[in-house]
């Protein structure tokens, strides 16, 4: 159900500062690809360029070609349109504070005009199940607000919300960095299962996490993609010295 992502000559700018330089990458469908690198290397910017969230920052610009499945992200459709087909989970869990758990999951559907109540119920239940949250909240999901859950649960709620609109690709920007180890473990398990239905790109500063969940890994440094290969190879026998320096902890 997931699709592949093709990125060609992607350049991204914040005003005059260039954040990404000539990125070319091919992400395989239904697999999990990790994006690693030291702070400021552009990994978050890269992922946010895939669903045009980069543009929401004033004076930000991106050029190049991104194709997700048959969809050309930058030519032909509006950003809003693109974002409906791509799901995103952010670093800090951000459920809508004034909505119940149910409404949070259904938000992507309701706010975009989907009116079928019965289908919505089914979709909410299914999404919460994918996110391994359904059994914990099934009795209170109409009454309790999204913000009343614990950190780990909130993030799973955000995952449920993201998958409810049936995206083809799921982008995750350091989804576990604000969570405790146990919640992190649960979410990593989730990613394993979600891989079967979606193509996942996950940004992480935790190399162990990358080796746990991703089949492929891309190493970014100062806005450039240095190396992209099977995770196993990156971590045991990298081709580029800079990659080796990073993973052995000589910097970053």
């Amino acid at each position: 159900m997931g699709v592949g992502i093709q990125v060609e000559k992607l350049n991204a700018f914040f005003g005059k500062t260039q954040a990404l330089q000539d990125i070319n990458i091919s992400v395989l469908a239904n697999h999990c690809t990790a994006v690693i690198g030291p702070s400021g290397c552009g990994k978050s910017t890269f992922v946010r360029c895939l669903n045009r969230m980069h543009e929401t920052v004033p004076e930000a610009k991106a050029t190049g070609r991104v194709r997700i499945g048959e969809m050309d992200v930058y030519n032909g459709s509006s950003a809003t349109h693109i974002r409906r087909r791509i799901g995103m989970v952010f670093q800090k869990p951000n459920p809508f504070p004034t909505m119940s758990i149910y409404d949070n999951v259904a938000a992507g559907l309701k706010l975009n005009g989907f009116r079928d109540r019965k289908r919505t119920d089914e979709i909410v239940e299914r999404s919460l199940t994918y996110a391994a949250l359904f059994h914990e909240v099934k009795d209170t999901m109409h009454k309790k607000s999204g913000a009343s859950l614990s950190g780990g649960q909130q993030q799973r709620l955000c995952i449920a919300r993201a998958v409810a609109v049936e995206p083809q690709v799921l982008l995750m920007d350091e989804p576990c960095s604000a969570l405790d180890p146990i919640s992190t473990g649960k979410i990593e398990e989730l990613i394993f299962q979600l891989k079967e239905k979606f193509t996942i790109v996950i940004v992480t500063h935790n190399m162990q996490q990358a080796s746990r969940v991703a089949e492929f890994t891309g190493f970014f440094l100062l806005g450039k993609l240095i190396e992209f290969d099977k995770t196993e190879k990156i971590f045991t026998n990298p081709s580029d010295k800079r990659t080796e320096d990073y993973i052995t902890g000589r910097f970053g």
Binding site: H31, S77, L109, T120, E166, E227
Partner: protein, 344 residues
């Protein structure tokens, strides 16, 4: 520069995709969402609608300026700038001089400031620096409550409580011991400039106090500690470490209070006596720019009469705007701009 990105090595066959049943059923919502159109047009409409509302704010100022200048043209042409320096206000003979009102406005406002500033700063100092923590909330709430009382209710209370108090106790006292200053002469009616000044003072204390509190709180704790560490008393810490640093902001608060006093209408109208005269004594009745408009506008017959009143309003508008701008700038320098540096 070698780029290993393109052409990721082939994996041993893709994983089996999610079972067909799920794949078939689930794309419904996605299809529906994908079909729903782009949002450029509604987004643009919304933005323009909000812009229109924002422009209304600008339009408001434009309308005010336009109305005031247009409707005062007549008297401006008739009297020119001398309008504000002549003291004869005679509707019967169509002669209009606004000096009594300018005088009354200034005197009542300055009197109000003289009374209000020490009180307001004192209250602010007490609440921020001296008061026990549990008392702070209730005390600041009650001071704010003073600001919520409508002007006409202040006036009502002033007529029936303050004025008799002045007439029977305060004014005789002042005349007896301070009459030599020539400011407390004449029959003690109670009604007059003194009453207006006092009620105005009560009304502007909350705003001066609130701003003073705000700027005092904005002074960083390190300033206070620096003075205390030198072995100062609490008052020395307050005056050197806090008030000195916040003085621009406090000045701003005072000027803001002045702006409020200049434009205050109802309470003043009810106790100032409404006589267009200039007198030295505070016991004498007077008239302010706002009061003359309030009293005479709805009954003004004749275009010149009305135009003169509007011109008074225009002058009031300009003065309060200038005063408020100065005040806000001063407050801004302490709370948001470069904090005033202590001259140690």
């Amino acid at each position: 520069m070698a780029n290993h990105a393109l052409g990721a090595p082939q994996l041993p066959g893709p994983q089996p995709v999610a079972n067909k049943e799920v794949a078939g059923e689930t794309r419904i919502a996605a299809e529906a969402l994908i079909k729903s159109g782009g949002s450029e047009v509604p987004d643009a409409i919304f933005r323009y609608a909000m812009l229109a509302c924002g422009l209304c704010v600008l339009a408001l100022v434009a309308v005010i300026v336009f109305q005031l200048t247009t409707n005062s043209k007549l008297s401006w042409h008739a009297f020119g700038l001398k309008f504000f320096f002549q003291s004869e206000w005679d509707p019967v003979n169509d002669q209009y001089g606004a000096l009594p009102f300018v005088y009354g406005t200034l005197v009542s406002s300055i009197l109000a400031l003289i009374i209000a500033v020490p009180l307001a700063v004192g209250v602010a100092v007490f609440i921020t620096e001296m008061c026990p923590v549990w008392l702070r909330g209730p005390l600041s709430f009650t001071t704010e409550l003073l600001a919520a009382i409508p002007s006409v209710i202040y006036g009502l209370w002033a007529i029936f409580v303050l004025v008799p108090l002045l007439r029977n106790y305060v004014q005789p006292f002042l005349a007896k011991y301070f009459g030599w200053t020539t400011m407390f002469e004449g029959p003690p009616f109670g009604i007059g400039m003194l009453a207006a000044g006092i009620i105005l003072a009560i009304m502007i204390v909350p705003i001066i106090s609130a701003i003073t509190r705000e700027v005092m709180t904005a002074v960083p704790q390190q300033q206070r500690e620096a003075v205390l560490a030198l072995g100062s008393t609490r008052w020395e810490m307050i005056s050197t470490g806090v008030l000195r640093n916040a003085r621009a902001g406090i000045m701003g608060g005072i000027i803001l209070g002045l702006g409020r006093a200049l434009g205050e209408t109802m309470a003043v109208t009810m106790v100032i006596g409404n006589r267009p005269e200039i007198a030295k004594s505070l016991f004498a009745p007077g008239y302010t720019m706002a009061s003359v408009i309030a009293n005479e506008f709805s009954e003004a017959t004749g275009d010149l009469y009305l135009s003169s009143l509007v011109e008074v309003g225009l002058a009031l508008f300009i003065v309060t705007i200038i005063v408020n701008i100065i005040a806000q700038f001063l407050v801004w320098t302490v709370t948001r701009g470069t904090p005033a540096r202590a001259n140690v």
